[in-house]
Amino acid sequence: MFSFDRGGIFEKNSSFVFMANHHSFTDTVDQIVTDGVIKGILHLHNEDECLSGNTLVLKGEKVVNFGSCSYLGLEFDRRLKEGVKQAVDNYGTQFSESRAYVSVRLYDTLESRLRALFEAAIVVVPTTTLGHIAAIPVLVGDSDAVILDHQVHNSVQTAVTLLKPRGIHVELLRHNRLDLLEERIKILRQKYSRIWYMADGIYSMYGDVSPVDEVRVLMNQYPELHYYVDDAHGMSCFGKHGRGYVLGRQPIHERMVVAASLNKSFASGGGALVFGDAEMARRVRTCGGPLITSGPMQPGALGAAVASAGIHLSDEIYSLQEDLHENIRYTNLLLGKYGLPAVSVSGTPVFFIGVSLPKMGYNMVRRMFNEGYYLNLGIFPAVPMKNTGVRFTITRLHTFAQIESMIGAMAHHLPQALADENISMEHIYKAFKMQMPEEKQIDAEVSSILNKADLRVVSLKSINEIDREEWDSMYAGKGSFDYEGMRFLEQTFSGNLLKENNWDFDYFFVKDRSGKTLLAAFFTSALAKDDMLSPAAVSMQLEKIRNEGDAYYLTSKVLSLGSLLTEGEHLYVDRTSPFWKDAMHLMFEKISALQEQYQAVTVTLRDFHHEDEEMDSFLVDNGYFKIRMPENHSIDKVEWTGKEEYLRTLTPSSAKHVKRYIFRYEEFYDTRVVTNPSPEEVNHWYQLYLNVKSGSYVINTFQLPFKAFENIVSGGHWDIITLSLKPGHEQAGETPGKPVAVMLNYISGDTYNFMIIGLDYRYQDDFKPYKQALYQVVKRAQNLGLKKIHLGFTTSSEKKKIGATIFTPVAYVQAKDNYNMAVLGNISVVEARL
């Protein structure tokens, strides 16, 4: 249930999909990283006096480091160290002038060597990230379009955000889907001068690669296509003179820009942009923001880079590369032999063993640490929540023995961690959409059955199959989803013409041996707009597209605990039972099955108390990320009688407001509780509702079907209030007594739920029907002797004034595919406002 302002007007009862806003995203990242810090996995510091190989001392333990991106181990090379020393001796610890004015002369040497290395025009930059920030705003013109690979590195995405204020078209492409890329090129080339496809050479988490050869074919076919690639992880490890994965496969193209890192295998720090077109390089060197206003690479790093470039230009680089590739080959062989769920096998030094949920990631990384191996936790936001994994890198410095003992340890600990966390191997393979070895699948099923033998699951498809008393004992008074409320929902959202109005219902119970219900929940699967909680400006832009014919643009199936129309504690769980978490695990399994059955992109578990730390930790560990729901409102104790007593429950300023804007106007209205409306009346109410709905973008939902109104008037738990202006106050030509507001409310137990509102906007300024409606809802609940009023989401300022308290529930979301969310995140609000 939602309500929200639109110039003082609001809508209620909208559907519900959670689009994490920036604040929630930061909160989630903070929570996960902080959790990792607390668990001793993240934000570590080495304790060695000095480093000389691939071991580290962390937390007092010597561990083999499988997290380094210095794949060739050049950071310990004597020549690089000497280069640093000599540069610092000659030029000092820093040369603090913008490169727009003066560069230390080592730059000349380095740039000359890098030009030879890449056989192309280059620009040296302090870091690859700053390189993106320097290059992308200069390269991409106002008449260009940008297509970002969904998994392109965050630093590229960050630089692309700089294009948004210029209204440049930016869109996302599903990872490595060049068939879709071609489709988009065909469309975009009609409108845009150039199309920039931005990708990574080697993706930093899963270690998979950009299909360089295929992109080249498209570049030859479509002259508008430009290819901007971040090849940070490929630099040095591949290609002639170590020029990287991308340029190791194909020579530079005149419409290609490659960003190489000098801060990984090159072992010096810094970065280089490589251009097929020398004029592009010149413009970036001249106009790139950080190249004008930010500091340069410092002498020490330049000294190391010059020395490293010398090695790259000699044949020695091939021997170093070969050593690395032998280690990569050995690693891939062993991963296969040990049957570990490696997410990608692509011959790169980055490996990712899928473990699915964050808690498994923590468990495995901790276990491996205890065995003497430091590996990275691959976790949200770098990967989706359900795709947590153990990321590790292989360098030239690893020995076969180190690699084998590490992989052997991982194979040993994975089953134990699975048992700890009550997760099956099948779950992991499913999460990563990988084929599971058959015999392991059988083992997992047997184990799962044994573990859960004491709990019984009951799955049902309709409220009619459930005992009314049992259901209401858990849900009466908690919202509009008691037994009758569910019947209303099932009747309303089935058998409709429009697909958004047809929902799937699933009821789920976990009972113990005695038959006692430990957990109950209902789920609905329904189509929803992905931008439901996006900024209104974004929704306005999307609605324009939808109204122009693509009615279901950026919509997707959502599996919700509860429904898109209800609000409250949908999950019943007996937390006094020692088995409540086991019951929750069974629910997660059910959710996975339903998600697959309905092809739901997102799972939303909603309306949880924000201070329930145990539940919070449990859900996050199981792969859900927390987002704050909109502010919700209720009056928890309706204990007053009469206006004066009511006013005394309010703050002085609210009481003043109520007197001035509500009581003063009350005399203009006839307030009716309607029990047997005519079809014309119902039709009018629906039109009032559509008035509100049509201009509401703050929470963007599909409109309710008319059938909902028909079912409401025939349902016993609904209470309908209308506000009509007394004769003489209606506008010219209007029928006297015609309602200007309708409030549809649901009574459950001792709770009054304000569900839907319709308004005639024309009277808003003169008679303030919205404020009046809110007050009449409160007054009606009091008249009925009800104890609590749910007033729904948003319009906080109005609801606060009539005595509501504000609370912010939280929801937990799991997205199988965050593509649409990412597309939404990249829609320019500035553009949307045009």
Binding site: L333, K337, Y338, T399, F400, E404
Partner: protein
């Protein structure tokens, strides 16, 4: 974890020697001429023959020994 001979042969000579050092067991050594010797290793469940220039301490060849009939040539020498 065992590798097969086919998998062993995926690696270059340097890596094969690393595997022999880490996993193999030297069974025997036979001097071929004034510069070269042959070393026989057991690696998991197969044999590997290493041809070495012992004057220069340089490895010339590292290959699995498929023809086990040739093992007899080693038996006349003591296992090191």
């Amino acid at each position: 974890m065992k590798l097969t001979t086919g998998e062993f042969c995926l690696f270059n000579m340097k890596s094969r020697m690393q595997l022999l050092r880490e996993k193999g067991k030297l069974l025997s050594r036979k001097i071929i001429d004034e510069r070269h010797d042959l070393q026989l290793f057991m690696l998991w469940d197969f044999y590997v023959e290493v041809l070495r220039n012992y004057n220069e301490q340089k490895i010339v060849r590292v290959e699995p020994l498929y023809n086990t009939g040739l093992l007899n040539i080693y038996y006349g020498y003591p296992v090191l």
